[in-house]
């Protein structure tokens, strides 16, 4: 294949251009430069003839460049003609005469400040909207729960048990392991710093209260949000993408009853149980560190723990757990229903489900702290 080129012969205001070689995709980059140069050089030309008789090959890329060359001249008011077109290429050239006629999207000089304000505005509206949707789903769920209490057989027990196994039972190893490590780390740090004051024994108080009231339930919720919340969003989201949710609706099923209720019931049961297990594992980890690193014997440790914590310390943590489970489940399902057709949207919603539920869990924890302080627990 010989190199593609364009030779020009000018006589006054008449310019004859002859295209040679293969005008194809592989050469499109160099050809574009050639035609741009040609257009610039013969700005004054009033009559342009483009001769294609010596062309070896022409594809869409080359044909479009010839069309662009022609339009560059005619756009300026000169006349431009294409001659020497072979029969095989005629159809292609004719086809390309019709394209790219619409005015391109004018990239209206986007104002950066306006764009930033626009983004902020949309984000705020988005937060408001997501609260509305969350409340809607909470309402729908309450209705379904009321209906289920009236007719307990409507609860999909198989589905609840299935989800309970997935979000509860299978989460046990990773949650026990993480909380065990967190407890051990807190105890080690406590001993290290409390030692300066000779107050090592109070590490037991710190770990006991911290773990049972706050850390146990928070760590479990973060793990559950990342592990099960994201799965809920992805499942419901891909069902939405494949119109499975619409199919359920047309068959007369309520997606909230079929999909949301069993998932949330499973979470509300699983998270308190996991919180209990997690807290015990954290205390165990802390105790082990106190014994091996801090030199406290187990009986001293237990005696100190018995003095430091009371039943309310434990119940405060456990009361919070089901509410946090509800928040995680609601956010995960809402985000799932918000998925639009594309894979990108599914990814976006899954991320946002995890981020939002962790954030809301922390906010809720703050409210609980104020509430328990007010009631004196």
């Amino acid at each position: 294949m010989s190199a593609a080129s364009l030779t020009a012969t000018a006589e006054g205001e008449r310019v004859a251009l002859a295209a040679t070689g293969a005008w194809t995709a592989e050469r499109a980059a160099e050809l574009e430069e050639i035609i741009d140069q040609t257009v610039r050089r013969y700005q004054g030309a009033s009559d342009v003839v483009i001769d294609l008789a010596k062309l070896e090959r022409l594809d869409t890329f080359g044909a479009w460049l010839i069309e662009r060359l022609k339009r560059a001249f005619t756009g300026r008011g000169s006349t431009a003609r294409v001659i020497g077109l072979s029969d095989a290429d005629r159809g292609l050239m004719e086809e390309l005469q019709l394209v790219n006629r619409a005015p391109g999207e004018t990239g209206a000089a986007a104002n950066r400040i306006a764009m930033a304000l626009d983004a902020v505005g949309r984000a705020v509206a988005g937060i408001g909207w997501s609260l509305v949707v969350l409340t809607q789903l909470l309402g729908a769920l309450t209705m379904v729960i009321a209906a289920t209490i009236a007719h307990p057989t409507r609860l999909r027990l198989t589905s609840v048990v299935y989800h309970l196994e997935r979000v509860g039972w299978r989460a046990v190893p990773i949650i026990v392991l993480s909380t065990f490590l967190i407890g051990a780390i807190i105890a080690q740090q406590g001993i290290f710093h409390f030692r300066t004051f000779g107050a090592e024994i109070y590490v037991v108080d710190m770990v006991g209260i911290l773990v049972l009231r706050e850390v146990g339930v928070l760590i479990v919720c973060v793990m559950v949000a990342g592990r099960s919340g994201s799965a809920y969003t992805a499942e419901i989201g891909s069902m939405k993408m494949r119109e499975e949710i619409d199919a359920l609706r047309t068959m007369g099923f309520d997606p909230v009853e079929v999909l949301v209720l069993p998932r949330i019931v499973a979470l509300v049961i699983a998270v308190p149980l996991l919180t209990f297990l997690g807290s015990m594992a954290a205390l165990y980890g802390a105790g082990l560190v106190c014994w091996l690193y801090g030199g406290m014997t187990p009986d001293i440790l237990l005696a100190r723990l018995r003095e430091a914590i009371s039943l309310p310390t434990f119940t405060v943590g456990m009361i919070k757990a089901p509410f946090m489970a509800l928040v995680i489940g609601l956010v995960a399902c809402v985000e799932g229903f918000e998925v639009q057709g594309s894979a990108a949207s599914l990814g976006l919603r899954t991320t946002s489900s995890v981020v939002k539920s962790i954030f809301l869990v922390i906010v809720l924890d703050g409210f609980f702290a104020m509430f328990f302080a007010a009631v004196g627990m």
Partner: protein, 258 residues
């Protein structure tokens, strides 16, 4: 239009999964500049043959030659050059859902050719218009497009690099009869203007009558017949008889010939 040059030549091809042998010593030729309609019962392995040719499925035995070169003998880079010379339209379109229609068409151009952004965009828009879409679809995401539009954008993407061969996997499935007829017409027009060779897996008898130069029939893992529609109609093979001369076959014959 020369009909002698073979662009795809499949010989003795065996493909299977586990214990199941889907293609059993199948042989097939596609000639330059023709539209080959590839038919067969559901599950006969039409898509399997197509996917084996384009390299998505491994073969157990046999040779596949494209443009006269054996694909199995090629290295990574030579294979890439061959792959640039074919385009594939998947059954569901397989548009990238995170890219707009225009970006979908630009994608192969941008990856394979080093062109200016302006030219890339102009060519992509030209392709969209050549498949009969208005330039307004450029900014739309696949989720916002109708089934027919998705097929057209996918066709534009398959044609993005000006391939010599296009593989179409059931291009008219899921389209209404009017849309399907328009799509057939479009394939015919593009095949003529761009000088394409077309390998079309189809179930659509109207397409077979209207646009295919030749038809190949796959049954029980082999290509049992190939030739123009007249040959198929004249055949006494029981499967061909019921396929082409069954009730639906007769109807579409009438539609086309009268």
């Amino acid at each position: 239009m020369t009909k002698n040059e073979t662009v795809i030549s499949v010989r003795d091809l065996v493909v299977g999964f586990g214990d199941v042998t889907v293609l059993d010593h199948a042989a097939l030729d596609v000639f330059e500049g023709e539209i080959l309609g590839f038919v067969g019962g559901s599950g006969a392995g039409k898509s399997v043959l197509m996917r084996t040719i384009i390299g998505l499925l491994p073969k157990r035995q046999g040779t596949i030659e494209v443009f006269g070169t054996d694909l199995a003998a090629l290295g990574e880079r030579e294979r890439r050059t061959i792959e640039q010379r074919w385009g594939v339209l998947f059954q569901q379109g397989a548009l990238f859902s995170s890219l707009t229609a225009l970006q979908n068409v630009q994608f192969p151009i941008r990856e394979y050719l080093d062109l200016s952004p302006r030219l890339t965009e102009e060519i992509a828009l030209a392709k969209l218009e050549m498949v009969g879409l208005s330039p307004d679809v450029r900014g739309k995401y696949p989720a916002e497009l109708s089934g027919g539009m998705i097929k057209r954008v996918a066709l534009a993407r398959a044609l993005a690099l000006d391939p010599d061969i296009v593989f179409l996997d059931e291009p008219t499935s899921g389209l209404d009869p009017i849309g399907a007829a328009e799509f057939d017409e479009l394939i015919r027009t593009l095949q003529r203007t761009l000088g394409l060779s077309v390998f079309m897996v189809t179930h659509d008898l109207d397409s077979l009558h209207a646009v295919c130069d030749r038809i190949a029939v796959l049954s029980e893992g082999r290509v049992i017949a190939s030739g123009p529609i007249e040959t198929m109609l004249a055949s006494e093979h029981p499967w061909l008889k019921s396929y082409f001369r069954g009730k639906r076959g007769r109807q579409s014959q009438r539609l086309v010939h009268h």
